[in-house]
């Protein structure tokens, strides 16, 4: 997608977010993404943006998809993560059939446990196939509840469980509170084995969404910093606007510079190779953490309460790197590219 087309799409996403997300961002954090919002996202073509047209998706290219993820994340990282899980996980794992079509329209919910690709050492529960049934528990399931779920069994099979499981939501989880983050209890005959190399498949899903994670991270940084620029213009201490203090102005401006450079790279990502995209992701997730920390800080006490909509960015920036990527594996991938051979593993 050309830069001009990206700009047009950006305006459309912002218009949508202003209308459908801006005023309900706090309630999304408290009560989750509503079915209505999922339907509105779908109607606009955002939910299934990355899915092929044959299943009712928008079949948009990677640059356009990144625009959607980034701009949505600037309003609600949870909403953006929902689009990501739909496009980059369901879209990659599932067959191009009616089920995926329903996920694209929001009619069917989809959730996934990215274990063991994200963090293999976590206690993920036990999930086994025996005969023609699948039973047990699987932790770290993230997504929209009430539909189907993808997970890897103990013996490494990637399965899609269509019914016969419950998700017990951990109601106050750290990040992406608009989605459920749950333990799945499974007792089902209604499942399908997608791949026998579950771990590898999940790993390739993760490494295949470097650009998308970069986009979400930059959206988080943009959302937090934009609020901070506005706030520090009007908030006064010692009778001067905060923005007039050099530490405040320079810290925010430097973060903005880092953000803008990364945004430019994101826009031109069609010209980047895989290594450069991984570098962009590493830079962006690190930036998101720093930008959100300063943003919360410069909001003072108001930054610490959810009504001001800054603390969620702080939580989500750190959760992004744990729930939707594997930083240790990324470090190794990056070192391998930089040194041309396996490095950084000791």
């Amino acid at each position: 997608m050309s830069i001009e087309e990206q700009d047009i799409l950006r305006s459309a996403v912002i218009e949508f977010a202003e209308k459908n997300i801006a005023n309900s961002a706090v309630s999304i954090e408290r009560a989750g993404i509503t079915d209505d919002l999922a339907a509105a996202l779908a109607a606009q073509g955002f939910l299934g943006a990355a899915l092929p047209a044959e299943v009712g998706g928008a079949g948009i290219d990677r640059q356009g998809y990144a625009v959607i993820l980034k701009e949505l994340a600037a309003y609600s990282p949870s909403v953006s993560a929902l689009v990501l899980i739909t496009g980059s996980v369901a879209g990659k794992l599932l067959k191009k059939d009616g089920l995926l079509g329903k996920i694209a329209t929001g009619e069917e919910a989809f959730a996934v446990s990215l274990w063991p690709a994200t963090d293999g050492s976590g206690d993920a529960g036990e999930l086994k196939i025996s005969g023609n049934r699948i039973t047990g528990t699987r932790r770290y399931v993230i997504g929209r509840p009430g539909g189907c779920m993808a997970a890897v069994t103990d013996d490494g099979k990637l399965v899609l469980v269509k019914s016969g499981f419950t998700l017990s939501d951990e109601d106050h989880h750290l990040s992406f509170r608009g989605l459920s983050y749950s333990v799945a209890t499974v007792e089902s005959g209604d499942y399908e084995v997608i791949s026998s190399n579950g771990k590898e498949t999940m790993e390739s899903i993760l490494s295949g969404m470097d650009l998308e994670i970069a986009a979400i991270a930059l959206g988080i940084a943009r959302g937090a910093l934009a609020k901070t620029v506005d706030y520090t213009k009007v908030r006064k201490t010692f009778e001067k606007p905060l923005k007039d203090y050099s530490t405040v102005a320079n810290n925010i401006s430097r973060l903005m510079s880092e953000l803008r450079v990364a945004e430019v790279a994101l826009q031109a990502s069609g010209d980047l190779n895989e290594t450069e995209i991984l570098m962009l992701k590493t830079h962006s997730t690190d930036l998101a953490k720093r930008a959100t920390k300063y943003s919360l800080q410069y909001h003072g006490g108001y930054g610490y309460i959810e009504d001001f909509g800054v603390e969620k960015f702080y939580r989500d920036a750190v959760g992004l790197t744990i729930l939707l990527e594997n930083q240790a594996a990324d470090g190794m991938r990056l070192s391998k590219e930089v040194f041309g051979e396996k490095s950084g593993y000791l």
Binding site: K289, K293, L296, Y304, E306, D307, Y314, R315, T321
Partner: protein, 376 residues
């Protein structure tokens, strides 16, 4: 110079740790966090156990550290019911001490310190709440924001403006009043949806023609700014202790997680980068402790050193934030599903309350340059 604590303080630390083991669990901490509920029972037990005693400041310092190490929200809630008491202790008259201090010291009453307003917290001299003197009473109008114990305290030490400064110096004309929480015209609204320390109670206070007897004035009229700054110099050492407890609690959990990995034969996943991150956390905690104990040593010998106090508060607060973030990165799912995600949320308040990190650094600078210029 001896870096070891005397026996009685070592015992106080052990006693606090023992209390924490008995009374604070991950499950309880999670419940109070989710429900945003003040742990009344815990606070009561802490007094019964004899570990909340601000007349013994060193014991209190290490007690706060140990309780916050177990859980920051519960640890702070259990030890914050006397917040502001030092203002009365240092500047109040005998009758005020008799009427108000005894009850908070034995845990039967709670108090709060109300300085911050919706319009600002850093700029203490900029507060707007006004107390007009009429005969033998003050009539107070205004509002206070983010007040700890706000919805549950029996009374507050409140900073108010009693006169407009004629010399243009905004920190003149401020006074401290004792304001009971149940007076007509005084409304208090609990603030929900905090990022962390959700077991503590925080509220917005609105005062609409609230009348208090003129006898409730602490010390002299017009000296309120000085009293509050003196108080912050004391309380900041305790906040540093909270922050050290949080960072130590994070390190404990990181080490527990990594030891378990080693026992499971997964040592190779503990890369050098992780090892050094753990070492960094431990080093910063130790540095925070040294600074804080130095600040406390000056303070508890009645020769406060505001530079060191501000350094200790700012550095320990940054350490808490650094430690909890690193801890989450190291422990991944295990941390995000366990205590550490709460520690991470709780830690950030350390850089905000009782003087943000920026304000501490400005205080340090002011003192440094004054000293460099020979005290002018």
């Amino acid at each position: 110079m001896d870096f070891e604590f005397p026996e009685d303080i070592v015992r106080a630390r052990e006693k606090a740790a023992e209390f924490a083991r008995k009374e604070i669990s991950s499950k309880k901490a999670l419940m109070y966090d989710r429900q945003e509920k003040f742990p009344d029972e815990l606070k009561k037990k802490a007094f019964e156990y004899g570990i909340v005693d601000y007349t013994n400041p060193w014991s209190m310092l290490v007690t706060i550290e140990e309780l916050c190490r177990a859980d920051p929200g519960m640890g702070i809630a259990a030890t914050v019911s006397l917040f502001g008491a030092e203002v009365i202790m240092l500047f109040g008259n005998d009758s005020q001490k008799a009427s108000y201090l005894g009850a908070v010291q034995n845990g039967s009453k709670m108090m709060g310190l109300a300085v911050t307003e919706p319009g600002g917290g850093s700029d203490v001299a900029g507060i707007k709440t006004f107390a007009r003197k009429e005969g033998s009473k003050y009539i107070i109008n205004g509002s206070k924001m983010f007040i700890t114990n706000g919805a549950i305290a029996d009374f507050f030490v409140m900073l108010v403006r009693t006169s407009n400064p004629e010399d243009g110096k905004r920190h003149h004309g401020l006074s401290t009043l004792i304001v009971p929480g149940n007076l007509p015209g005084f409304s208090r609204t609990k603030i929900t949806g905090k990022l962390g320390v959700r077991a503590t109670n925080t509220a917005e206070l609105v005062l609409n023609n609230v009348e208090v007897p003129a006898d409730n004035l602490i010390g002299e009229e017009g000296k309120g700014f000085y009293y509050i700054m003196t108080f912050f110099n004391i309380s900041r050492a305790y906040v540093a202790a909270q922050a050290i407890g949080i960072a130590q609690g994070a390190l404990d959990r990181v080490l527990e997680y990594l030891s378990e990995l080693q026992s499971k034969g997964a040592s190779s996943s503990i890369t050098e980068e992780i090892q050094m991150a753990a070492s960094d956390i431990a080093t910063r905690i130790e540095a925070s402790r040294l600074l804080t104990y130095k600040a406390a040593s000056y303070l508890f010998q009645f020769k406060p050193n505001p530079t060191i106090t501000s350094m200790s508060k700012a550095y320990a607060a940054e350490t808490a934030v650094f430690a909890t973030e690193k801890a989450l990165e190291i422990t991944g799912y295990s941390g995000i599903n366990g205590d550490l995600e709460r520690f991470f949320r709780d830690a950030k308040i350390m850089e905000i309350w009782e003087g943000t990190s920026e304000i501490e650094k400005l205080i340090i600078w002011r003192n440094l340059i004054r000293e460099a210029r020979g005290g002018n």
